[in-house]
Amino acid sequence: MQQRDNQNRLSQEYTNRVLLNGTLSTPRWWYPLVSVLLFFVVIGFILFGIQIKYGLGVTGLNRPVYWGLYITTFVFWVGISHAGIMISAILRITQAEWRRPVTRAAEILTIFSLATALVFPLIHAGRTWRIVYWLIPYDAARGIWPNIRSPLFMDPIAISTYLTGSTLFLFVALIPDLAVLRDRTTGFRKGFYTILALGWRGNPRQWKMQVVGGILLSALMLPIFVSVHSIVSWDFAVTPAVEGWHSTIFAPYFVIGAVHSGVSAVVTMMALMRWGWGWNDFIRPEHFDALARLLTVVATAWLGFTFLELLFALYGLDAPEIALREMQIFQYPWNLLFLTFLLTGYILPVPMWLFKRVRTNIALMFWSSILVNIGMWLERFLIIVPGLARKSPFVFTWEAYSPSWFEWYVLFWSFCWVTLLMLLFSRVFPLVPLFEQKESEVFSDSIKIGRATVPTIFREEEEEEED
């Protein structure tokens, strides 16, 4: 089959065949990997059942460290979910062309990490079986509304709004590809795709509505971009009793940190997609290059907020606050965690990204993005736990906290769970948007500047004539 047409663009046939290789056929590694993940996920569910039966004593939590690894991981996954809106919505509105092969991966990462984050308050709560009382807004039998002043009540609202928006967004972007799949399958799958494709025929009117719908949803989701992690940060910021928590800077600090970790997770995922499905022609080094440039800016802004948070804390010269920071930064074992957090969150990866050779090296980008997420997980841990472990100088109940293997497993479980959901998704829907890819091939061209050949994008406003 012809790979490239006479203008050196990837042919549409080739695009279809390669990008559907995970959907219309099964990669060799798919079944073994899914079985292994399924095994770990099922063990996680069994452990969760044990925790429900016997109580939260199975964790390492104590008094006063009432929140630990579960809440840290909850915040972490909410942070990862900011990838979708950053990549799809903001880059769509700003017409960044390089976003195209990445958008869907970012959106499904958003959806599955949000779904995982929503599970964590359930795992964390003492009486999971009563949480219906909290999540479903009106309890007619008792006539009591939930407490809307509590950030913990606003969390599920913000997250489910985000989840609904992202799912709609993903679906609108999937419709043309579903039609492609409809035309290439038979039997049960054809029926399934026919229903989901909503009668897509690819005529100009449908394209127009699809594009307008995408842009509208992007714009509508932008406020959620700010609100979701702000609300999560208020879980901590409204607590006057815990040093290190009651900070007014938390909302923007958490949002920028979320973008940092989310975009890094997208980089990780892109590298895996390139290796797993062999989409080398579609997920190219220049995409990694562009994401690393974006990450450099985001990471630096985030580092600024990190120091600003410390500055705000120390500016008041409040003795307990200073004592807490001293413990967080200088005392064992927090000092090791803090050092690792700074190294992996900024000092190691960001200087690396300043070199184009690193930015276009897939393996290096993969490992540096993993580093960022180790650092970002530690950041949440260092915010949540030391403040609780060293509560206030008047009350002499200070306890260190070491998570039990149970909690570590649940952290591991969450990664298996998200990966499993993604792999199942990839078997049913294409992970790279076909139509976006084809569109970018039509727009892209190369121009000669001096001796160098530079890739460019030509957008010609011809749509009106086609109508």
Partner: protein
């Protein structure tokens, strides 16, 4: 005459009288069906005691003195634990009590993070007693299951029983008629419980007459506690003053 709905239950704790005997701790443990604190609970930092004695040292050797503060739920008028609960499991009632509704609690432990006094306790396991202690449980107090928060209730079962009895006998509730378990057990009468809105109650009188010694815990957090402490009369300070007076005489 104070009508029932205008009560504001409060407590005055005279730290000068407290000798740290932990009688209140034990009495509370028995009255409120609090599970026994065994070695494992201490090691894992999951001890439950609705009232506890914090001991600290004051002064330099040899003029050193042990100080005790009994700490229990302060029943703050402006309680930081209340607004953060998503299900209204903790709220303020019209008698000034900070109430914990066990049935509503889903165990987010958010209230415990909100509390600066760390007087809220979480049931990590289902509570268990040795077989021979099971019949000693107080039938007036709910046994809390795993996964929920609990804390000092100012012995609400005694408050309710006292108010009911007074109503049955068609009379006003007398000051000192209701005594929480800790007050009853206190050998030095350091703990006094009563209605802060009644100007003739002992708590009101004490917090008025001893106003120079009166303080609340962590006032900088603006929680407005209903538990008032009276400061220790410092013998070291008086000794210094005496010596100063002597040196002035010479």
């Amino acid at each position: 005459m104070v009508t029932e709905d205008k009560r504001s239950w409060g407590m005055v704790i005279d730290t000068d009288k407290c000798n740290g005997c932990s009688g209140c701790v034990t009495a509370c443990q028995v009255e409120n069906n609090i599970p026994l604190n065994d070695q494992n609970k201490f090691e894992r930092g999951r001890v439950m005691s609705w009232i506890r004695i914090e001991r600290y040292w004051e002064g330099e050797f040899p003029d050193v003195k042990a100080r005790f503060i009994p700490i229990l739920c302060q029943h703050c008028a402006n309680a930081p634990c209340e607004p953060v609960c998503p299900v209204y499991a903790t709220y303020h009632n019209d008698e000034g009590l900070n109430i914990q509704v066990y049935n509503r609690c889903v165990g987010t432990r958010y209230c415990a993070n909100g509390c600066p006094y760390i007087v809220r306790f979480f049931n990590y396991w289902e509570p268990a007693w040795p077989e021979d202690l099971r019949n000693h449980l107080n039938p007036d107090v709910t046994i809390r299951s795993r996964g929920i928060m609990e804390k000092c209730s100012f012995c609400i079962q005694r408050i309710k029983r006292g108010s009911r009895k007074a109503k049955e006998e068609n009379r006003e509730l007398q000051d000192g008629e209701i005594k929480p378990a800790c007050q009853e057990a206190c050998s030095t009468n350091a703990i006094v419980f009563g209605d802060l809105n009644d100007p003739n109650s002992e708590v009101s009188k004490l917090s008025k007459s001893e106003s120079d010694r009166k303080y609340t815990l962590m006032p900088q957090l603006n929680t407005d506690p209903n538990v008032v402490y009276l400061a220790t009369i410092d013998p070291l300070k008086y000794k210094d003053l005496g010596e100063k007076a002597k040196s002035n005489e010479h």
